[in-house]
Symmetry: C2
Subunit: 432 residues, 2 copies
């Protein structure tokens, strides 16, 4: 019963109320999503980190430069290829050559396997795919050997006027797999080729708070379709600017919102009879890799940060200083794999769910960020087929469906977020 | 290395030259196909029977009302669902309700399983799907139990003005899984809802010769992309009208074309040094289910048909008389499953290859029609993943890819065929 592949989740036991409601409303949900995709162009790809507390399921991070395609079960590859074909047909049907621009992590063999997997998927979708590196010191074409024995050829980027090229390769489309945390390099600015996702989707300009604002709107709409309280799929959040953790600037704003959101959660927990201890997550409004994130259970914790904690919160990827912070309702993760806290990560290409895995961390609690050194990835598998008809008694419902719905809702929010950014950019440029 | 799922074929041994050429030209082939899909709307679904003689691969039948979804490996269902979503989004994004109209074979449990599988796929794509029966004596909603234990609910069709309905169901779109061999029932004529495929795709009006004429054109174009002789993917054919096998009318036309095509094949076999014995297939130009088909190796065989053979050729499904005949180059099948002659059948939804199986017949030779009582179906499986990159040494090439290309070429021909028929219908109706 899903537009989403039927994957085995770690959850067992009877369906939760929220799952039941979402599964039961499936045709209405799919119809609503279809109408949304008519109005909003989806990003080329995305991954969404989810938290399922049992009573609540929500996205906690939506990544527009997903880096874990290598963690997907290889069985999902046909789905990835089909979805990539759909995306290419919509965005650039005439394209043959794709230039893939990865992160500069040449020693991170896991990340390199992600790049290799993406290259394979796009090749299987019928594209010529070559990899253009932003590494400033890449002398010439450089072959890297992966742990699997496969090889990855990095080639130096060239720019000719407003086109990105490789030595003997003039691609039609540029696929970014680099989140541009360090800024948009000059070589990528004002490129005439289609760039997927656009450079402004990078962390130089993207903000989590804008994403979650868009998410709140679409969550309300979907909640109306489902006839549920939007809070069940949407965490409270607020944003503080002008922060400087090192200089203890702006902490009052953060502590204030922590208090406010904790109060809001307490009220909701009372309403639903939930006995858990509310917590909030304080995180950098821009940035990824699980850096600049902390779990807080009282406003005092924010005011009492020690030197080390401040240092950790102050700097994110590529040494960027944190100046804006998001305070967000924490969602316990109810799922575990081998007794370790786990959260599902759902991968999408175009608007299709193409697979997922669990992020598992044996050293972290169910109220903590799991995207941290020491995390492991447990690929999901297709569930044993439950033919002929999952709507008939005896067939197992697709528990993964709910994750697919919430992930696509986050994807829709990202689509709207990028549209808004695009409109702002166009407004800022005087018409000539 | 494919846009086509990597399925295990029965073929083993080194790649054949033709396979190697098609696999090697993959990006160019996919680019060409993508541009074709921009120009031609694909039928909702199709299955294609292929014959692979080793030196030649060609479609022998393109079915626009495929009846074997139950024979696909259940592992392919996520691909079917994703492709069905793509099709629905393109054709009728606003649709929620689908009315599926099957054949009237209520005692063919295999066919009923096909209907149940289709219903499941469409439900998984988020649609409300109910089954409207053309059975004239269906008193009310009737539940049929399938061999799997699942149930199928057939409901009587209702017509209100120009809308097809069920008792409490007003569908947005009608999906035909009935090839209309017995004519277009009045209840299906001039329906205002979208009808997929259109009624004129049924065998009342469809002709194989028109399909293969369209196929020849696109095969020439693809052959140019591949730099190969189009004959390697396109069988010779001719058409005779005004046939009456019972009254021995029109046999001269058939015998004449048999002689001509055998000569043409002989010339090609000499050119390529092929030692096989040429043969042709004589078949009804309209119709399916493997009825009205014979293998012929000389023109005399056509003139010397005995009473029984005439009778067999004279009548096809639903007792229709054969009046038009196609004479087509026979293509040996080089493939076998457990020493029995086998031919691949490839299933597509929208323009995506979603799976396939082998049709196997232990009582038939490699120069005979295998679509006959006693045939069996052997589902294909996904090949063991050959990660990280099939383009790198050591990875198995996707042999199934070639079948996916030729099948999509036949699908493209069907798209063009339907466009031509649509244009003729529009020309025939005076503008009002």
């Amino acid at each position: 019963m899903s537009t989403v592949p039927h994957l085995t989740t770690a959850l067992s036991g009877p369906l939760l109320d929220l799952e039941r409601q979402i599964l039961g409303a499936m045709p209405a949900v799919e119809h609503w999503l279809r109408t949304q995709w008519l109005e909003h162009a989806t990003p080329f790809y995305a991954s969404v980190d989810l938290r399922n507390s049992g009573f609540k399921i929500a996205p906690v991070d939506t990544n527009l430069f997903p880096g874990g395609f290598n963690n997907l079960n290889p069985e999902f590859h046909p789905l990835c290829v089909q979805a990539a074909m759909s995306a290419i047909e919509k965005i650039c049907p005439e394209a043959r050559g794709v230039l893939l621009i990865p992160e500069n992590h040449t020693r991170n063999t896991f990340y390199l396997q992600n790049v290799a997997t993406l290259q394979t998927i796009l090749r299987q979708a019928g594209m010529n795919v070559r990899i253009g590196s932003l590494l400033p010191d890449l002398a010439g074409a450089t072959e890297l050997e992966l742990a699997t024995g496969a090889k990855l050829l990095l080639e130096p980027l060239r720019r000719e006027k407003n086109r990105l090229k490789l030595a003997d390769f003039d691609p039609c489309v540029v696929l970014l797999n680099n989140d541009l945390s360090g800024g948009v390099p000059a070589v990528l600015q004002n490129i005439e080729q289609a760039m997927l996702p656009p450079v402004f989707a990078g962390w130089t300009t993207r903000r989590k708070s804008r994403h979650f604002a868009a998410y709140s709107k679409v969550a309300k709409e979907l909640a109306a379709v489902l006839g549920i309280d939007p809070w069940l799929i949407d965490p409270f959040f607020e944003k503080c600017g002008l922060i400087n953790f090192k200089e203890r600037r702006g902490e009052d704003c953060v502590a204030g919102y922590v208090a406010e959101i904790l109060d809001d959660i307490r009220a909701k927990y009372r309403e639903y009879g939930i006995k858990d201890d509310p917590f909030v997550i304080v995180k950098a409004d821009a940035g990824t890799y699980g850096m600049g994130i902390m779990t807080v259970k009282s406003p005092e914790e924010v005011l009492d940060l020690n030197r080390n904690q401040r240092k950790k919160m102050a700097v994110i990827k590529e040494g960027l200083e944190v100046q804006e912070v998001m305070v967000q309702e924490g969602v316990y993760t109810f799922e575990s794999v081998n007794d370790a806290a786990a959260e599902p990560v759902v991968y999408m290409i175009d608007h299709f769910v193409v697979g997922g895995f669990y992020r598992v961390h044996t050293e972290r609690g169910k109220d903590q960020n799991l995207n941290a050194p020491g995390m492991q990835f447990v690929p999901l598998a297709f569930a044993a087929p439950s033919l002929p008809d999952p709507e008939h008694p005896g067939a197992l419902p697709n528990r993964f469906y709910t994750y697919g719905v919430i992930s696509r809702l986050a994807l829709l929010a990202a689509a709207i977020e990028l549209e808004e950014m695009q409109a702002e950019i166009e407004d800022a440029v005087p018409a000539s």
